[in-house]
């Protein structure tokens, strides 16, 4: 309480407004530095990076896979692989991915895409699996 009284005596309403704005700016900065995963994705061919794509720009592009071109599409912050016909095309089964650490792959094509950042598993999310046995 003494601190609050001291602040009130030592500052004008404008000072307090500035302090509030500054505090909010600092807190916003802290929040943004720790929670901005999934801003880009890396495309790997045979475990080597061949392309990096920003997820904030819609694009449709191709990389050369073992069996021919593999189409990669970015839309509204999400990314997916489009095939090439193969039941082992894990990427196609996965569909759109978003969120740090998520992957999609075309195994026979040798192509993997991974959204960059530390893998996130939301607390309390029953579907936030560390892995799926299949």
């Amino acid at each position: 309480m003494r601190v609050l009284v001291l602040i009130q005596r030592a500052t004008t309403p404008m000072d307090r407004w500035l302090m509030g704005v500054s505090a909010l700016a600092i807190l916003a900065g802290m929040f943004l530095t720790v929670s901005r995963p999934g801003q880009s994705a890396v495309v790997m061919r045979d475990n080597r990076p061949v392309l990096r794509l920003a997820l904030d720009r819609d694009i449709r592009t191709e990389v050369e896979g073992r069996l021919g071109p593999v189409v990669i599409q970015v839309e509204q912050g999400r990314i997916r692989l489009l095939e090439h016909r193969s039941p082992r095309m894990i990427g196609t089964r996965t569909g759109w991915i978003q969120g740090a650490g998520r992957t999609a792959a075309c195994v026979p094509c040798g192509v993997v895409i991974r959204v960059e950042g530390e893998k996130e598993v939301a607390e309390g999310d029953p579907n936030g699996f560390d892995a799926v046995s299949e």
Partner: protein
């Protein structure tokens, strides 16, 4: 003077407040740092997608450990893949029958384990089905969309010599195949073995909490800071669906074999990649998938295939030969059978 004093006091107080806020922000980062969470990496290895995740390990150390683990899996693939002509298995399969080739202690151990499980399964788990797998071609690109000619399957059946019955001979660190109908295919056991060795490499690097998932063959060490690893079990008939949930703390291994991994449909009949050596056809045992929890990944890998081929009754009899192993079977009608010791609950259950 008095006016300057008030202004100075205000500037000092204002600056002090901003400094205090900054200090709080810094202290949040430095005094109570978050323990390192999950570090993970995914690579294509052994013909599948392999993800290694560590928990509680700083990024640089985790990366070094994961690199070592992936390297180990690559070494085993180069040794045991039947699709690599220069691998030990590729060389053995290509060699003239009856010709002895040298056998490393490591490979001898894996083959011996496969033969042991094969004998206990009455020959239904068979590591010598390379030529039959080639006939069906599930590993081909493009994949098959129709069964092989019936005549070819009958020929293979007529010539078949089981590896558990003189199809393979091991003698003083040498090995030979005795029949053209036999070719080693360690697909039902080598991936599990590689996962075991990869986990050893992680542990040697000081990692105590980790999960390795090699296309469904998993090995788990420790927990995530006291919380179990949260694993989903795929619904056999919904590609993106999960039918059960497993909260597992290591050490434990988990492997699932199902009729949905590689398959095609002809006139509503499902032809999948898990072959029954007694019929030369995809196994029709009344099951859609089998999951095994046990101590090591090689055993889990082999048992999930063996139980799938054997079916419920004979499969569960085989399971009793391996204390500490438990199974979850999903029957063709969608019902689940969970043996004691298998940790799982239906998805959505509290």
């Amino acid at each position: 003077m008095g006016g300057h004093g008030v202004i100075n006091r205000r500037v000092v107080t204002f600056s002090g407040m901003i400094a205090a806020l900054l200090l709080i922000a810094l202290a949040r980062g430095f005094l109570s740092p978050e323990p390192p969470g999950i570090q993970s990496e995914t690579r294509l290895q052994m013909g599948t997608l392999v993800t290694i995740s560590t928990w509680g390990v700083e990024k640089g150390s985790a990366q070094r450990a994961m690199n070592a683990a992936f390297e180990e899996m690559g070494r085993i693939e180069a040794l045991m893949s039947r699709f690599m002509a220069d691998s030990a298995i590729g060389g053995l399969n290509a060699a003239p029958r009856q010709e002895f080739l040298p056998l490393t202690e490591e490979l001898e151990g894996v083959i011996a384990r496969g033969l042991e499980i094969g004998r206990l399964s009455g020959g239904q788990f068979d590591i010598g089905l390379g030529p039959l797998s080639d006939l069906w071609g599930f590993s081909r690109e493009p994949p098959p969309d129709s069964p092989p000619a019936e005549k070819k399957l009958r020929q293979w059946l007529a010539q078949r010599t089981s590896v558990t019955n003189q199809g393979i001979e091991i003698d003083a660190h040498r090995v030979r195949l005795t029949s053209a109908s036999v070719g080693l295919d360690l697909g039902g056991i080598a991936k599990g073995y590689a996962v075991d060795r990869a986990m050893e490499r992680l542990e040697k690097q000081g990692v105590t909490s980790a999960l390795i998932n090699a296309g469904g063959d998993m090995r788990i060490a420790g927990s995530k800071g006291g919380k179990p690893w949260h694993i989903g079990l795929r619904d056999p008939r919904k590609a993106d669906g999960v039918i059960a949930v497993m909260d597992l703390t290591g050490p434990v291994s988990l492997s699932t074999s199902g009729d949905y991994e590689r398959f095609f449909l002809v006139d509503g009949v499902r032809y999948h990649h898990i072959l029954d050596p007694a019929t030369a056809q995809p196994a029709r045992s009344g099951l859609m998938s089998v999951s095994i929890q046990t101590r090591d990944s090689m055993l889990a890998d082999a048992l999930s295939t063996a139980l799938f081929v054997l079916g419920e009754k004979r499969g569960l009899e085989l399971l009793t030969q391996f204390p500490g192993s438990a199974a979850l079977l999903i029957r063709e009608d969608g019902t689940l059978l969970q043996t004691p010791g298998f940790i799982a609950k239906p998805k959505g259950a509290p």
